[in-house]
Symmetry: C2
Subunit: 120 residues, 2 copies
DNA sequence: TGGATATATATGGATAAGCAGATATATGAT
DNA sequence: ATCATATATCTGCTTATCCATATATATCCA
């Protein structure tokens, strides 16, 4: 499955920055543009899980979780592994969490800066 | 200006992970969910620029650039500085570029992995 | 003040992305 | 084969996002 997504990028031979950024957006950044998907990534970073475990843990409907997992899977951010009836999902690359944690630090400092501006 | 955005987060005292992630998405990740905005951030990381310089450099209309700059400014990712008629924008926190570069590395490896799967 | 330049915003319309609810597929057990 | 469980997908519908065009504001200079 997902065979059609493999012949998209063609190994970026003569890639300008603009082209690479557009692919970064299309493949990864747009996948991070939803809070449920970010929560899924953090949850899978703690431990690989079945769909139902994510449904329970994130208190979100099963179709919604599956739809988000499909997006993350198509973009290579998570990997699926069927074991009997269950499908276990796991994070493909922990550096996604590194990047998100960096952004959380940016956010913390940004909020602190704003708070200082208010109190001055 | 932009006064209303300062009283949004209230210093996240009793913040659950879910709440923090939702704010991360609302403030930062959703701002990264557009290729033009990512290009603006990379451009400003190289050198602070006026709106018109960005318009020329990114070959995008002035209203579009201004609209994207407003979003980035409201979320604290860029800082504006008026000097006469011109407004010079600059990156607020270089770690955004660090995070984006990490995601680019993730993308590169993901594409390489897919290429290997195709050729096997 | 009036004009020129730089930047910001408002409006309308197209496209995309989200969810809920229903349904389909896949696997395992009896 | 039939049923139960787990997961995936489809169908409307609503909302959000983006752009182009037009217009407004801000600053400088004459």
């Amino acid at each position: 499955m997902d065979k059609q997504i493999y012949d998209r990028g063609s190994a970026m031979e003569t890639t300008t920055l603009s082209q690479e950024i557009r692919q970064l957006h299309a493949d990864i950044c747009s996948a991070l543009a939803d809070p449920t998907r970010i929560l899924i990534l953090y949850s899978l970073a703690e431990s690989p899980s079945s769909v139902n475990e994510l449904v329970t843990h994130l208190e979100t409907s099963q179709p919604t979780i599956s739809r988000h997992l499909k997006i993350l899977r198509e973009r290579g951010l998570v990997s699926a592994n069927r074991q009997g009836q269950m499908v276990t999902y796991s994070l493909t690359d922990v550096r996604i969490i590194d990047a998100l944690d960096t952004l959380r630090a940016v956010l913390r400092d940004s909020l602190a800066r704003r708070a200082n501006l208010v109190n001055s």
